[in-house]
Subunit: 257 residues, 2 copies
Protein backbone atom coordinates (compact mmCIF):
# COMPACT_ATOMS: atom_id res chain seq x y z
CA UNK A 1 0.00 0.00 0.00
CA UNK A 2 1.25 3.47 -0.94
CA UNK A 3 0.39 6.33 1.43
CA UNK A 4 0.94 10.04 0.83
CA UNK A 5 1.35 12.00 4.06
CA UNK A 6 0.74 15.75 4.36
CA UNK A 7 -0.13 18.20 7.16
CA UNK A 8 -0.62 21.89 7.81
CA UNK A 9 1.82 22.43 10.67
CA UNK A 10 4.76 22.13 8.26
CA UNK A 11 7.11 19.33 7.28
CA UNK A 12 9.29 19.76 10.38
CA UNK A 13 6.52 19.40 12.97
CA UNK A 14 6.54 16.56 15.54
CA UNK A 15 3.06 15.35 14.55
CA UNK A 16 4.08 14.42 11.01
CA UNK A 17 7.22 12.61 12.25
CA UNK A 18 5.19 10.42 14.59
CA UNK A 19 2.64 9.68 11.86
CA UNK A 20 5.27 8.73 9.28
CA UNK A 21 7.13 6.50 11.73
CA UNK A 22 3.95 4.57 12.50
CA UNK A 23 2.69 4.28 8.90
CA UNK A 24 6.05 3.02 7.63
CA UNK A 25 5.31 -0.20 9.54
CA UNK A 26 2.44 -0.97 7.15
CA UNK A 27 3.02 1.00 3.94
CA UNK A 28 5.31 2.66 1.44
CA UNK A 29 5.14 6.28 2.69
CA UNK A 30 5.76 9.46 0.67
CA UNK A 31 5.83 12.80 2.53
CA UNK A 32 4.87 15.97 0.64
CA UNK A 33 4.10 18.78 3.06
CA UNK A 34 4.23 22.56 3.41
CA UNK A 35 7.62 24.12 4.03
CA UNK A 36 6.09 26.48 6.59
CA UNK A 37 3.20 26.36 9.03
CA UNK A 38 -0.17 26.75 7.26
CA UNK A 39 -2.67 26.52 10.11
CA UNK A 40 -6.07 28.11 9.39
CA UNK A 41 -5.21 28.39 5.71
CA UNK A 42 -8.44 26.56 4.80
CA UNK A 43 -8.64 25.21 1.27
CA UNK A 44 -6.46 27.95 -0.24
CA UNK A 45 -4.48 27.11 -3.36
CA UNK A 46 -1.56 29.08 -4.72
CA UNK A 47 -2.03 30.74 -8.11
CA UNK A 48 -0.44 34.18 -7.88
CA UNK A 49 3.09 33.00 -7.18
CA UNK A 50 4.73 29.84 -8.50
CA UNK A 51 5.40 26.83 -6.29
CA UNK A 52 8.88 25.58 -5.38
CA UNK A 53 9.67 22.06 -4.23
CA UNK A 54 12.70 21.18 -2.11
CA UNK A 55 14.03 18.04 -0.46
CA UNK A 56 13.71 17.97 3.32
CA UNK A 57 16.42 15.85 4.94
CA UNK A 58 16.99 14.75 8.53
CA UNK A 59 20.63 13.89 9.31
CA UNK A 60 21.23 13.54 5.58
CA UNK A 61 18.36 11.11 4.99
CA UNK A 62 15.48 12.23 2.78
CA UNK A 63 12.31 12.60 4.88
CA UNK A 64 10.09 14.14 2.21
CA UNK A 65 9.43 16.99 -0.20
CA UNK A 66 8.65 20.47 1.09
CA UNK A 67 6.40 22.78 -0.96
CA UNK A 68 6.28 26.56 -0.41
CA UNK A 69 2.50 26.49 -0.54
CA UNK A 70 -0.66 25.31 1.18
CA UNK A 71 -1.70 21.80 2.22
CA UNK A 72 -4.08 21.61 -0.77
CA UNK A 73 -1.20 22.64 -3.07
CA UNK A 74 0.93 19.80 -1.69
CA UNK A 75 -1.72 17.21 -2.53
CA UNK A 76 -2.37 18.60 -6.02
CA UNK A 77 1.25 18.93 -7.12
CA UNK A 78 2.22 15.80 -5.22
CA UNK A 79 -0.25 13.57 -7.02
CA UNK A 80 -0.05 15.36 -10.39
CA UNK A 81 3.69 15.90 -10.71
CA UNK A 82 5.85 14.60 -7.91
CA UNK A 83 4.66 10.99 -7.42
CA UNK A 84 5.11 8.36 -10.12
CA UNK A 85 1.57 7.05 -9.59
CA UNK A 86 -1.32 8.13 -7.31
CA UNK A 87 -1.27 6.87 -3.71
CA UNK A 88 -3.80 4.38 -2.37
CA UNK A 89 -4.48 6.65 0.59
CA UNK A 90 -3.71 10.18 1.80
CA UNK A 91 -3.28 10.82 5.53
CA UNK A 92 -3.05 14.42 6.71
CA UNK A 93 -1.66 15.18 10.16
CA UNK A 94 -1.14 14.55 12.92
CA UNK A 95 -2.41 18.03 13.64
CA UNK A 96 -1.45 19.84 16.80
CA UNK A 97 -4.91 20.80 18.08
CA UNK A 98 -8.43 19.52 17.37
CA UNK A 99 -10.24 20.06 14.08
CA UNK A 100 -13.85 19.76 15.13
CA UNK A 101 -17.09 21.66 14.46
CA UNK A 102 -16.49 24.98 12.67
CA UNK A 103 -12.72 24.41 12.66
CA UNK A 104 -13.21 21.90 9.84
CA UNK A 105 -13.88 24.92 7.63
CA UNK A 106 -10.68 26.74 8.58
CA UNK A 107 -8.36 23.74 8.80
CA UNK A 108 -5.49 23.20 6.41
CA UNK A 109 -5.13 19.64 7.70
CA UNK A 110 -8.68 18.74 6.70
CA UNK A 111 -8.32 20.59 3.39
CA UNK A 112 -5.32 18.45 2.39
CA UNK A 113 -7.42 15.33 2.93
CA UNK A 114 -10.37 16.96 1.15
CA UNK A 115 -8.21 17.80 -1.87
CA UNK A 116 -7.28 14.11 -2.04
CA UNK A 117 -10.99 13.19 -1.94
CA UNK A 118 -11.62 15.65 -4.78
CA UNK A 119 -8.90 13.78 -6.70
CA UNK A 120 -10.71 10.46 -5.98
CA UNK A 121 -8.06 9.25 -3.51
CA UNK A 122 -9.35 7.86 -0.16
CA UNK A 123 -8.18 10.10 2.65
CA UNK A 124 -8.29 10.98 6.31
CA UNK A 125 -7.30 13.93 8.48
CA UNK A 126 -5.95 13.19 11.96
CA UNK A 127 -5.74 15.67 14.84
CA UNK A 128 -4.89 15.49 18.53
CA UNK A 129 -6.93 17.70 20.85
CA UNK A 130 -4.10 19.77 22.27
CA UNK A 131 -1.79 22.37 20.76
CA UNK A 132 1.14 21.24 22.90
CA UNK A 133 1.05 17.47 22.53
CA UNK A 134 3.90 15.73 24.34
CA UNK A 135 3.38 12.25 22.91
CA UNK A 136 1.84 11.50 19.52
CA UNK A 137 2.36 7.74 19.79
CA UNK A 138 -1.22 6.86 20.85
CA UNK A 139 -2.68 8.82 17.94
CA UNK A 140 -0.09 7.48 15.49
CA UNK A 141 -0.78 3.88 16.51
CA UNK A 142 -4.55 4.33 16.36
CA UNK A 143 -4.27 5.80 12.87
CA UNK A 144 -2.30 2.76 11.77
CA UNK A 145 -4.93 0.40 13.21
CA UNK A 146 -7.73 2.35 11.52
CA UNK A 147 -6.05 1.91 8.16
CA UNK A 148 -5.31 -1.77 8.73
CA UNK A 149 -8.60 -2.88 10.25
CA UNK A 150 -11.41 -0.78 8.75
CA UNK A 151 -12.87 -0.50 5.25
CA UNK A 152 -11.61 3.08 4.89
CA UNK A 153 -10.56 2.49 1.30
CA UNK A 154 -14.15 1.52 0.47
CA UNK A 155 -15.62 4.87 1.47
CA UNK A 156 -17.66 6.51 -1.30
CA UNK A 157 -15.63 8.64 -3.70
CA UNK A 158 -15.57 12.18 -2.36
CA UNK A 159 -16.01 11.21 1.30
CA UNK A 160 -13.12 11.52 3.75
CA UNK A 161 -12.72 10.82 7.43
CA UNK A 162 -11.98 13.58 9.91
CA UNK A 163 -10.49 12.02 13.02
CA UNK A 164 -9.94 13.73 16.37
CA UNK A 165 -8.09 11.93 19.14
CA UNK A 166 -7.99 13.02 22.79
CA UNK A 167 -4.52 13.84 24.11
CA UNK A 168 -4.65 11.08 26.72
CA UNK A 169 -2.87 7.84 27.54
CA UNK A 170 -4.48 4.92 25.72
CA UNK A 171 -6.16 3.54 28.84
CA UNK A 172 -7.98 6.83 29.45
CA UNK A 173 -9.58 6.95 25.99
CA UNK A 174 -13.17 5.78 26.53
CA UNK A 175 -13.91 4.51 23.02
CA UNK A 176 -14.53 5.53 19.41
CA UNK A 177 -17.60 7.40 18.17
CA UNK A 178 -18.80 7.91 14.62
CA UNK A 179 -19.90 11.54 14.73
CA UNK A 180 -21.41 14.44 12.82
CA UNK A 181 -19.78 17.85 12.48
CA UNK A 182 -20.64 19.84 15.62
CA UNK A 183 -22.11 23.33 15.86
CA UNK A 184 -19.51 24.80 18.24
CA UNK A 185 -17.99 28.00 16.91
CA UNK A 186 -15.67 30.78 17.89
CA UNK A 187 -16.47 33.85 19.89
CA UNK A 188 -13.90 35.91 18.00
CA UNK A 189 -12.12 38.80 19.60
CA UNK A 190 -9.74 41.07 17.72
CA UNK A 191 -7.21 42.42 20.16
CA UNK A 192 -6.24 45.94 19.13
CA UNK A 193 -2.66 47.07 19.70
CA UNK A 194 -0.63 50.09 18.67
CA UNK A 195 2.70 49.59 16.88
CA UNK A 196 5.86 51.60 17.74
CA UNK A 197 4.90 54.03 14.95
CA UNK A 198 1.51 54.86 16.44
CA UNK A 199 -0.57 52.75 14.05
CA UNK A 200 -3.25 50.22 15.05
CA UNK A 201 -3.03 46.52 14.33
CA UNK A 202 -5.28 43.59 15.32
CA UNK A 203 -4.63 40.02 16.50
CA UNK A 204 -7.36 37.42 16.19
CA UNK A 205 -8.06 35.69 19.50
CA UNK A 206 -11.22 34.29 21.11
CA UNK A 207 -12.60 31.13 22.56
CA UNK A 208 -14.59 28.18 21.26
CA UNK A 209 -18.22 28.35 22.36
CA UNK A 210 -19.10 24.81 23.46
CA UNK A 211 -22.43 24.24 21.72
CA UNK A 212 -22.17 20.43 21.33
CA UNK A 213 -23.47 18.43 24.25
CA UNK A 214 -24.37 15.31 22.26
CA UNK A 215 -21.82 12.52 22.17
CA UNK A 216 -22.46 11.78 18.50
CA UNK A 217 -21.00 15.15 17.49
CA UNK A 218 -17.24 15.58 17.02
CA UNK A 219 -16.81 18.20 19.73
CA UNK A 220 -19.21 16.40 22.09
CA UNK A 221 -17.29 13.12 21.68
CA UNK A 222 -13.83 14.52 22.38
CA UNK A 223 -15.16 16.47 25.36
CA UNK A 224 -16.04 13.07 26.86
CA UNK A 225 -12.65 11.54 25.98
CA UNK A 226 -13.86 9.57 22.97
CA UNK A 227 -12.05 9.38 19.64
CA UNK A 228 -14.28 11.11 17.07
CA UNK A 229 -14.51 9.93 13.45
CA UNK A 230 -16.64 12.13 11.17
CA UNK A 231 -17.32 11.28 7.52
CA UNK A 232 -17.36 14.54 5.57
CA UNK A 233 -17.73 15.45 1.92
CA UNK A 234 -17.48 18.51 -0.27
CA UNK A 235 -21.03 18.78 -1.56
CA UNK A 236 -22.09 21.94 0.25
CA UNK A 237 -25.64 22.00 -1.17
CA UNK A 238 -28.30 22.55 1.47
CA UNK A 239 -30.82 20.12 -0.06
CA UNK A 240 -33.64 21.00 2.32
CA UNK A 241 -33.43 24.65 1.34
CA UNK A 242 -32.93 23.66 -2.32
CA UNK A 243 -36.31 21.92 -2.24
CA UNK A 244 -38.02 24.77 -0.41
CA UNK A 245 -36.62 27.41 -2.75
CA UNK A 246 -38.36 25.84 -5.71
CA UNK A 247 -41.43 27.66 -4.38
CA UNK A 248 -39.71 31.02 -4.79
CA UNK A 249 -41.08 32.58 -7.93
CA UNK A 250 -37.94 33.86 -9.54
CA UNK A 251 -38.52 33.83 -13.25
CA UNK A 252 -39.65 37.40 -13.48
CA UNK A 253 -36.72 38.72 -11.52
CA UNK A 254 -34.53 39.13 -14.57
CA UNK A 255 -36.82 41.92 -15.64
CA UNK A 256 -37.17 43.32 -12.15
CA UNK A 257 -40.86 42.45 -11.91
CA UNK B 1 -31.47 47.88 5.62
CA UNK B 2 -27.75 47.75 6.36
CA UNK B 3 -25.59 45.72 3.92
CA UNK B 4 -21.92 44.81 4.35
CA UNK B 5 -20.15 44.29 1.03
CA UNK B 6 -16.96 42.26 0.63
CA UNK B 7 -15.21 40.39 -2.21
CA UNK B 8 -12.04 38.46 -2.98
CA UNK B 9 -10.76 40.40 -5.99
CA UNK B 10 -9.76 43.31 -3.75
CA UNK B 11 -11.37 46.60 -2.80
CA UNK B 12 -10.30 48.33 -6.02
CA UNK B 13 -11.85 45.82 -8.45
CA UNK B 14 -14.61 46.85 -10.89
CA UNK B 15 -17.01 44.15 -9.64
CA UNK B 16 -17.27 45.60 -6.15
CA UNK B 17 -17.78 49.15 -7.48
CA UNK B 18 -20.72 48.04 -9.62
CA UNK B 19 -22.25 46.12 -6.72
CA UNK B 20 -21.95 49.00 -4.26
CA UNK B 21 -23.41 51.48 -6.73
CA UNK B 22 -26.48 49.29 -7.25
CA UNK B 23 -27.01 48.38 -3.57
CA UNK B 24 -26.79 52.01 -2.46
CA UNK B 25 -30.14 52.50 -4.20
CA UNK B 26 -31.83 50.26 -1.63
CA UNK B 27 -29.61 50.15 1.47
CA UNK B 28 -27.06 51.71 3.76
CA UNK B 29 -23.87 50.07 2.40
CA UNK B 30 -20.57 49.49 4.25
CA UNK B 31 -17.60 48.16 2.26
CA UNK B 32 -14.94 46.13 4.07
CA UNK B 33 -12.80 44.20 1.61
CA UNK B 34 -9.29 42.83 1.11
CA UNK B 35 -6.57 45.32 0.23
CA UNK B 36 -5.14 42.88 -2.32
CA UNK B 37 -6.52 40.18 -4.58
CA UNK B 38 -7.37 37.01 -2.65
CA UNK B 39 -8.72 34.68 -5.34
CA UNK B 40 -8.53 30.96 -4.49
CA UNK B 41 -7.74 31.80 -0.88
CA UNK B 42 -10.61 29.56 0.30
CA UNK B 43 -11.74 30.04 3.88
CA UNK B 44 -8.28 31.03 5.14
CA UNK B 45 -8.12 33.29 8.18
CA UNK B 46 -5.08 35.26 9.28
CA UNK B 47 -3.55 34.31 12.62
CA UNK B 48 0.22 34.42 12.16
CA UNK B 49 0.49 38.10 11.31
CA UNK B 50 -1.72 40.88 12.65
CA UNK B 51 -4.34 42.61 10.53
CA UNK B 52 -4.19 46.25 9.48
CA UNK B 53 -7.19 48.31 8.42
CA UNK B 54 -6.94 51.37 6.18
CA UNK B 55 -9.39 53.77 4.58
CA UNK B 56 -9.82 53.37 0.83
CA UNK B 57 -10.79 56.62 -0.86
CA UNK B 58 -11.79 57.43 -4.43
CA UNK B 59 -11.21 61.07 -5.39
CA UNK B 60 -11.07 61.91 -1.71
CA UNK B 61 -14.40 60.25 -0.84
CA UNK B 62 -14.38 57.24 1.49
CA UNK B 63 -15.39 54.10 -0.43
CA UNK B 64 -14.69 51.56 2.29
CA UNK B 65 -12.18 49.94 4.63
CA UNK B 66 -9.36 47.80 3.24
CA UNK B 67 -8.00 44.91 5.32
CA UNK B 68 -4.60 43.31 4.62
CA UNK B 69 -6.12 39.84 4.97
CA UNK B 70 -8.53 37.36 3.49
CA UNK B 71 -12.23 37.73 2.66
CA UNK B 72 -13.17 35.74 5.80
CA UNK B 73 -10.94 38.07 7.88
CA UNK B 74 -12.81 41.08 6.48
CA UNK B 75 -16.18 39.68 7.58
CA UNK B 76 -14.95 38.67 11.03
CA UNK B 77 -13.17 41.92 11.91
CA UNK B 78 -15.78 43.96 10.08
CA UNK B 79 -18.69 42.63 12.10
CA UNK B 80 -16.78 42.24 15.37
CA UNK B 81 -14.80 45.47 15.46
CA UNK B 82 -15.33 47.86 12.60
CA UNK B 83 -19.12 48.16 12.31
CA UNK B 84 -21.21 49.72 15.08
CA UNK B 85 -23.81 46.95 14.82
CA UNK B 86 -24.09 43.80 12.66
CA UNK B 87 -25.43 44.21 9.12
CA UNK B 88 -28.79 42.80 8.03
CA UNK B 89 -27.14 41.17 5.03
CA UNK B 90 -23.67 40.46 3.64
CA UNK B 91 -23.12 40.46 -0.12
CA UNK B 92 -19.80 39.20 -1.46
CA UNK B 93 -18.73 40.06 -5.00
CA UNK B 94 -19.29 40.69 -7.75
CA UNK B 95 -16.63 38.14 -8.55
CA UNK B 96 -14.77 38.19 -11.83
CA UNK B 97 -15.30 34.57 -12.93
CA UNK B 98 -17.80 31.87 -11.97
CA UNK B 99 -17.83 30.11 -8.60
CA UNK B 100 -19.57 26.86 -9.43
CA UNK B 101 -19.04 23.17 -8.65
CA UNK B 102 -15.65 22.50 -7.03
CA UNK B 103 -14.70 26.17 -7.22
CA UNK B 104 -17.05 26.82 -4.29
CA UNK B 105 -14.40 25.10 -2.15
CA UNK B 106 -11.55 27.31 -3.36
CA UNK B 107 -13.43 30.59 -3.60
CA UNK B 108 -12.66 33.52 -1.37
CA UNK B 109 -15.86 35.21 -2.52
CA UNK B 110 -18.02 32.34 -1.29
CA UNK B 111 -15.98 32.07 1.92
CA UNK B 112 -16.72 35.70 2.83
CA UNK B 113 -20.43 34.97 2.54
CA UNK B 114 -19.99 31.69 4.42
CA UNK B 115 -18.20 33.46 7.27
CA UNK B 116 -21.21 35.77 7.52
CA UNK B 117 -23.50 32.72 7.67
CA UNK B 118 -21.32 31.29 10.45
CA UNK B 119 -21.88 34.58 12.29
CA UNK B 120 -25.67 34.18 11.78
CA UNK B 121 -25.89 37.01 9.22
CA UNK B 122 -27.87 36.26 6.02
CA UNK B 123 -25.52 36.34 3.06
CA UNK B 124 -24.97 35.76 -0.62
CA UNK B 125 -22.01 35.44 -2.95
CA UNK B 126 -22.37 36.82 -6.48
CA UNK B 127 -20.16 35.95 -9.46
CA UNK B 128 -20.22 36.64 -13.17
CA UNK B 129 -19.11 33.84 -15.47
CA UNK B 130 -16.19 35.58 -17.12
CA UNK B 131 -12.82 36.74 -15.85
CA UNK B 132 -12.83 39.80 -18.12
CA UNK B 133 -16.31 41.20 -17.58
CA UNK B 134 -16.91 44.43 -19.47
CA UNK B 135 -20.23 45.37 -17.90
CA UNK B 136 -21.33 44.37 -14.40
CA UNK B 137 -24.60 46.30 -14.56
CA UNK B 138 -26.86 43.32 -15.38
CA UNK B 139 -25.45 41.32 -12.45
CA UNK B 140 -25.55 44.31 -10.12
CA UNK B 141 -29.17 45.05 -10.96
CA UNK B 142 -30.21 41.41 -10.61
CA UNK B 143 -28.55 41.24 -7.18
CA UNK B 144 -30.51 44.28 -6.09
CA UNK B 145 -33.79 42.73 -7.31
CA UNK B 146 -33.00 39.46 -5.53
CA UNK B 147 -32.55 41.30 -2.25
CA UNK B 148 -35.68 43.38 -2.73
CA UNK B 149 -38.06 40.74 -4.01
CA UNK B 150 -37.13 37.40 -2.44
CA UNK B 151 -37.24 36.09 1.12
CA UNK B 152 -33.43 35.86 1.28
CA UNK B 153 -33.37 37.18 4.83
CA UNK B 154 -35.62 34.28 5.89
CA UNK B 155 -33.15 31.58 4.85
CA UNK B 156 -32.28 29.16 7.67
CA UNK B 157 -29.38 30.29 9.86
CA UNK B 158 -26.18 28.91 8.39
CA UNK B 159 -27.46 28.76 4.81
CA UNK B 160 -26.21 31.20 2.19
CA UNK B 161 -26.91 31.71 -1.49
CA UNK B 162 -24.21 31.21 -4.11
CA UNK B 163 -25.27 33.08 -7.24
CA UNK B 164 -23.66 32.79 -10.66
CA UNK B 165 -24.76 35.09 -13.46
CA UNK B 166 -23.94 34.62 -17.15
CA UNK B 167 -21.90 37.43 -18.71
CA UNK B 168 -24.64 38.30 -21.18
CA UNK B 169 -26.98 41.17 -21.98
CA UNK B 170 -30.21 40.89 -19.97
CA UNK B 171 -32.29 39.76 -22.94
CA UNK B 172 -30.01 36.79 -23.57
CA UNK B 173 -30.32 35.41 -20.03
CA UNK B 174 -32.82 32.55 -20.32
CA UNK B 175 -34.07 32.49 -16.71
CA UNK B 176 -33.16 31.65 -13.11
CA UNK B 177 -32.56 28.14 -11.80
CA UNK B 178 -32.36 26.96 -8.20
CA UNK B 179 -29.45 24.53 -8.38
CA UNK B 180 -27.26 22.09 -6.50
CA UNK B 181 -23.47 22.27 -6.39
CA UNK B 182 -22.16 20.56 -9.54
CA UNK B 183 -19.52 17.85 -9.85
CA UNK B 184 -17.30 19.58 -12.43
CA UNK B 185 -13.70 19.78 -11.30
CA UNK B 186 -10.29 20.77 -12.51
CA UNK B 187 -7.90 18.76 -14.59
CA UNK B 188 -4.89 20.39 -12.93
CA UNK B 189 -1.63 20.82 -14.75
CA UNK B 190 1.48 22.21 -13.10
CA UNK B 191 3.57 23.89 -15.73
CA UNK B 192 7.23 23.45 -14.89
CA UNK B 193 9.64 26.26 -15.72
CA UNK B 194 13.26 26.99 -14.93
CA UNK B 195 14.22 30.31 -13.32
CA UNK B 196 17.25 32.38 -14.43
CA UNK B 197 19.27 30.64 -11.71
CA UNK B 198 18.61 27.14 -13.01
CA UNK B 199 15.99 26.18 -10.43
CA UNK B 200 12.56 24.68 -11.15
CA UNK B 201 9.29 26.35 -10.31
CA UNK B 202 5.66 25.41 -11.05
CA UNK B 203 2.57 27.35 -12.13
CA UNK B 204 -0.87 25.87 -11.58
CA UNK B 205 -2.91 25.78 -14.78
CA UNK B 206 -5.53 23.36 -16.13
CA UNK B 207 -9.06 23.27 -17.40
CA UNK B 208 -12.45 22.66 -15.84
CA UNK B 209 -13.80 19.22 -16.73
CA UNK B 210 -17.46 19.76 -17.65
CA UNK B 211 -19.19 16.99 -15.71
CA UNK B 212 -22.54 18.72 -15.19
CA UNK B 213 -25.05 18.23 -17.95
CA UNK B 214 -28.15 18.69 -15.79
CA UNK B 215 -29.73 22.10 -15.75
CA UNK B 216 -30.44 21.95 -12.01
CA UNK B 217 -26.71 22.02 -11.22
CA UNK B 218 -24.83 25.31 -10.97
CA UNK B 219 -22.42 24.58 -13.81
CA UNK B 220 -25.14 23.00 -15.96
CA UNK B 221 -27.37 26.06 -15.52
CA UNK B 222 -24.79 28.67 -16.46
CA UNK B 223 -23.70 26.58 -19.46
CA UNK B 224 -27.25 27.04 -20.75
CA UNK B 225 -27.27 30.79 -20.01
CA UNK B 226 -29.41 30.57 -16.86
CA UNK B 227 -28.67 32.42 -13.65
CA UNK B 228 -27.80 29.79 -11.02
CA UNK B 229 -28.76 30.17 -7.35
CA UNK B 230 -27.45 27.45 -5.04
CA UNK B 231 -28.28 27.30 -1.33
CA UNK B 232 -25.17 26.05 0.49
CA UNK B 233 -24.27 25.51 4.13
CA UNK B 234 -21.23 24.61 6.19
CA UNK B 235 -22.30 21.29 7.67
CA UNK B 236 -19.91 19.00 5.81
CA UNK B 237 -21.17 15.77 7.42
CA UNK B 238 -21.84 13.00 4.90
CA UNK B 239 -24.97 11.70 6.67
CA UNK B 240 -25.40 8.67 4.41
CA UNK B 241 -21.91 7.45 5.25
CA UNK B 242 -22.41 8.45 8.90
CA UNK B 243 -25.34 6.02 9.09
CA UNK B 244 -23.48 3.25 7.26
CA UNK B 245 -20.36 3.60 9.41
CA UNK B 246 -22.33 2.73 12.52
CA UNK B 247 -21.91 -0.85 11.30
CA UNK B 248 -18.13 -0.55 11.48
CA UNK B 249 -17.05 -2.32 14.65
CA UNK B 250 -14.55 0.14 16.00
CA UNK B 251 -14.61 -0.24 19.75
CA UNK B 252 -11.74 -2.69 19.91
CA UNK B 253 -9.50 -0.55 17.74
CA UNK B 254 -8.10 1.42 20.64
CA UNK B 255 -6.36 -1.74 21.72
CA UNK B 256 -5.41 -2.71 18.19
CA UNK B 257 -7.65 -5.81 18.20
Amino acid sequence: MKILVCNDDGISSPGIFALVKSLKEIADVTVIAPLNEQSAIGHAITMQVPLRVSEYRINGTLFGLAVNGTPADCIKIGIRNLMDSPPDLVVSGINHGSNTAINIIYSGTVSAAREAAIMDVPSMAVSVTNHNVKDFSVAAELTKHLIEKTPIKQLPTGTLLNINIPDLPKEKIVGIKITTQGKSKWDDIYERRVDPYGKDYYWLTGELLQLDKKIDTDQGAINKNFVSITPIHFDLTDYETFNKMKEWNLDNLINGK
